[in-house]
């Protein structure tokens, strides 16, 4: 496969709270190739966001990366100085967050917000940065970009704000774009515009994309490969078509069965019973075993290995679906 753009190996990120250890990310491995869109999917609390913040070493206190290796273009990010990390963030690796209005400083105009990144990372003059900012706004599909440069974030619609966030993220031609649920707050017709934009930019700029979402529909629309996370672990990963069409892990199967499907309203939804485990008190063995319809006593014994079933399709289950 050649050297991956990003390789995360056996990542453990824990939060130390009042004598408890919350295992938010518990031995996660995945990789992103150049020009590939990898989806990380799972329900809230699965550890998706913490895993991605770990890559940028932005895990908030009291979170700690306690084990693992993160290789970005061959560089070991966990061994880098804070100064080198600051150079990488926003430049080679950039991130788009879920809530654009909370991530854009309301006191600055759009032109200033995009310009700041360019002045800081590319040592441009403010005037050159303004020209480039206008170009970026056009790239992300904002009409009349020159006029928009003087707008403040609150003067833009949600979809536009998210485009500005993407424009900032793209300003230094990143090799890797990390996006954390960036379309959840948007309407579906705007969401599809953003997804289409990301695909076009990937084709044009050849960047790798790591897309975090709880929506398997978005995964099917956008991603090449997908990682399904549950309780801080990877349950299944592989080509989107293989994982969504022929899920091997009972959790993936259940996630798909719980969604209403277009054109089949008569099919009763199969909810997942029970609750996800407390991350401060994870069960031994497979974390999904207490809710699993296939669980046998040995599922709760020791940790279950992630097994490659061929074609890059991996499953962490002792009794995978056929």
């Amino acid at each position: 496969m050649g050297a991956a753009l990003l390789e995360v190996e056996d990542l453990h990120t824990h939060f130390l709270l009042k004598g408890k250890v919350v295992r938010a990310v518990n031995g996660v491995s995945f990789s992103v190739q150049r020009g590939e869109i990898l989806g990380i999917a799972g329900e809230s609390g699965a550890g998706k966001s913490v895993a991605c913040l770990s890559i940028l070493r932005l895990v908030p206190n009291p979170g700690r990366i306690v084990r693992g290796r993160i290789l970005f273009a061959g560089e070991d990010l966990l061994a880098k100085s804070e100064r080198r990390m600051r150079e990488l963030r926003g430049q080679a690796v950039s991130m788009v967050f879920e809530d654009p209005l909370n991530s854009l400083d309301p006191a600055f105009t759009v032109g200033d917000l995009i310009g700041e990144t360019l002045v800081l990372h590319k040592a441009m003059t403010m005037r050159a940065a303004r020209g480039k900012a206008s170009e970026l706004l056009r790239l992300v599909g904002i009409p009349d970009p020159d006029r928009r440069l003087d707008n403040y974030p609150h003067e833009l619609s949600g979809g536009m704000q998210q485009r500005v966030m993407i424009a900032i993220a793209l300003s230094c031609d990143p090799a890797l774009l990390i996006a954390d649920n960036p379309t959840t707050a948007l309407d579906v017709t705007i969401q599809i515009q953003i997804l289409d934009l990301v695909k076009q930019l990937r084709d044009r700029l050849g960047m790798g994309v790591l897309w975090i979402t709880h929506d398997l529909g978005v995964v099917a629309k956008l991603c090449d490969r997908v990682v399904i996370m549950y309780a801080g672990e990877v349950m299944e990963h592989g080509d989107v078509y293989a994982v969504l069409k022929h899920p091997r892990h009972p959790y993936t199967r259940r996630l798909i069965d719980a969604l209403p499907k277009l054109g089949r309203p008569e099919q009763r939804l199969l909810p997942i019973d029970g609750r996800p485990p407390d991350p401060a008190n994870l069960p031994a063995g497979c974390p999904f075993a207490p809710r699993c319809y296939k669980a046998k006593p040995e599922c709760r014994d020791g940790s279950v290995p992630l097994v490659d079933t061929g074609g890059g399709h991996g499953v962490r289950c002792l009794y995978p679906e056929e």
Binding site: P143, S157, T189, G217, K245, A258, P260, K261, G263
Partner: protein
């Protein structure tokens, strides 16, 4: 429309404009947000109707007017044949009992200082229904009905997960044996597994109590799962009404087509095969909606001047299937049933 004489709720030429004040002392009127701008439809007895559209299209405002939480600017709402704007105090009390609401956010809609038992009993207290031990009995019944345990009556909302809180919200809405329940985005703040539980629960209670339901949501797969009929709204206007299966099979309005094609579905085959309609531009501001057809600025089937200048009427294109679009100018049969909605702009 199409509810016939059996319609429980009839909405006629309903308008809601929210005035916007500008200027330093907020005295000068700076126009109005035309949230709902002349809509007409019926909800039949025992029917579940899905009202869909994107943020700001006026769907929640419509529901809140039916709930009599906000007064309309113009137009009428009839419940059981009576205009809800002119109810006597007794009728009003009975109306408040018959119409109930399930809220979007189960985290902020439950009082954190009350036990869920008291939350569920609250409407009964207000309405003097089920007094004494019968009330406690009723609370226990309701808890079990929505899939919780009777012993959880003494718990506080924070002890429940999001999906369980939404069950409490549904139990509260059912406490007074309503005829009509308005569900405002009932699953949009829930995780996938909890979502499925709540959707199944709504489907079950509808059947069990023969409820009439209006469900407002932006999620078209949720609507397809629950509703008999779908109403599509765009910027304060109705653009299409059809039986659910027909709407998805034979979508008429270009906006509905774009909405249906944009629904993310977890089936990669479906995603690859179906036509993707990617609309241009953003949703215009309801403060200053476009002239003519409000969708013309983003429409993929734009016909020209007629769309920009003439507002299309909602007309019955096939039996029971209404659309407001110039594409179907010739195909329309003569309007039947209720009056087609008129543009009410001149009245304001």
């Amino acid at each position: 429309m199409d509810g016939g004489p059996a319609a429980l709720i009839q909405v006629r030429d309903l308008v809601k404009h929210f005035p916007v004040r500008g200027g330093l002392l907020a005295r000068r009127s700076a126009g109005a947000v035309r949230a709902v701008d002349g809509i007409t439809f019926d909800i039949g007895r025992g029917e579940t109707v899905g009202l869909v559209g994107e943020s700001g299209c006026g769907k929640t405002t419509t529901g809140r007017m039916i709930m009599k939480l906000i007064p309309p600017t113009a137009g009428e709402i009839y419940f059981d044949g009576r205009p809800i704007a002119a109810l006597s105090p007794e009728q009003e009390k009975s109306y408040r009992r018959q119409v109930q609401m399930v809220f979007q956010d189960p985290f902020s809609s439950l009082n954190p200082r009350m036990t869920v038992g008291n939350i569920i009993a609250y409407p009964m207290r207000i309405q003097d229904a089920y007094t004494g031990p019968a009330r406690d009995q009723r609370v226990r019944e309701l808890l079990e009905l929505v899939g919780l345990s009777r012993y959880q009556a003494n718990w506080y909302p924070h002890e429940f997960s999001g999906g369980e809180r939404q069950r409490v919200g549904i139990a509260t809405a059912l406490a007074l044996d309503p005829t009509f329940v308005f569900c405002d985005e009932p699953v949009s703040s829930l995780d996938v597994s909890a979502q499925a539980q709540i959707l199944n629960l709504l489907k079950d209670i509808r059947k069990e109590f023969n409820l009439t339901i209006l469900i407002v949501t932006h999620n078209l797969s949720v609507v397809e799962y629950l509703s008999d009929r779908v109403i599509v709204m765009y910027l304060g206007k109705l653009v299409e009404i059809a039986a659910t299966a027909e709407l998805y099979r034979d979508t008429l309005h270009p906006y509905s087509k774009a909405l249906v094609s944009a629904i993310p579905t977890p089936d990669p085959d479906v995603e690859r095969e179906r036509a993707q309609i990617i609309l241009r531009g953003e949703i215009p501001s309801p403060l200053d909606p476009p002239s003519g057809c409000r969708f013309h600025t983003r429409c993929q089937s734009y016909l020209g001047d007629v769309c920009r200048e003439v507002e299309p009427e909602l007309r019955e294109i096939r039996p029971g299937h209404f659309a407001a679009c110039h594409l179907y100018a010739e195909a329309a049969t003569t309007p039947t049933g209720a009056e087609p909605p008129r543009a009410l702009d001149h009245m304001i």
